[in-house]
Amino acid sequence: MIDLLYFAWVRERVGAPRERLETQAATVMELIAELKQREERYAWAFGDLTSLRVAVDQELASFEAPLAGVREVAFFPPMTGG
């Protein structure tokens, strides 16, 4: 089981701040592909990967990051702190 977290407009498009998922996806990219096939709202949230960022267990990661042993994956737009 992986905790999925969504922030900012990714959260708004998905329609929830978090959910738990049982997945066989080996990488973040495979997870995204799986989610996009589930429902239209995921396809909308994950449509443009260039404006999507990902954190794996609270560290920024690439879409190729492996998911073995991972507890938490977060998706969000480019950060706008400061």
Binding site: L5, F7, A8, W9, R11, A55, Q58, E59, L60, A74, F76, P77, P78, M79, T80, G81, G82
Partner: protein, 146 residues
């Protein structure tokens, strides 16, 4: 080192004075403060979302990097989340060093990283509605100099 991620407002003057007092002798103190910006004369309100758990960890890592890279007597980062009114302080960074070059460089480094690598997302609220603040190309470019 002091890192605070908070919803409560902070007093820029009090924090700046306290920081300068506790690094007395360092010689040089630089602060940066980000305020909710005026858009064409109209002060906007702002809603800031963040990623509890990751945020403090990410900021602490940035401060550690700055401390390893420059000779700093101390560093402070305060960043708010939640609803902010126009003109309110969003965040501040303070750095202290013996010489100004280190204090300036570390403050700019921290700001560049906070802008694009700390998990905050700003939404501007105005009479017309609300909109997520888009990341600026320049902010991503700014990271390349470090």
């Amino acid at each position: 080192m002091q890192v605070s991620v908070q919803s409560e407002p902070f007093d820029l003057g009090v924090l700046t004075s306290a920081f300068a007092a506790r690094v007395a002798g360092a010689g040089a103190v630089v602060t940066f403060t980000g305020l909710v910006r005026d858009n064409d004369g109209q002060l906007a309100a702002m809603e800031i979302e963040h990623y509890p758990g990751m945020t403090e960890k990410a900021i602490t890592a940035m401060v550690d990097q700055a401390t390893a890279r420059w000779s700093l007597a101390d560093a402070l980062v305060v960043h708010r989340y939640g609803r902010l009114a126009g003109g309110e302080a969003i965040m501040m960074v303070a750095t202290a060093s013996r010489h100004r070059a280190d204090a300036f460089a570390a403050a700019e480094f921290l700001m560049d990283y906070l802008k694009s690598r700390a998990p905050f997302w700003k939404k501007e609220l105005s009479a017309d509605g609300s909109a997520w603040v888009a990341a600026r190309e320049e902010d991503e470019t700014a990271l390349k100099r470090w």
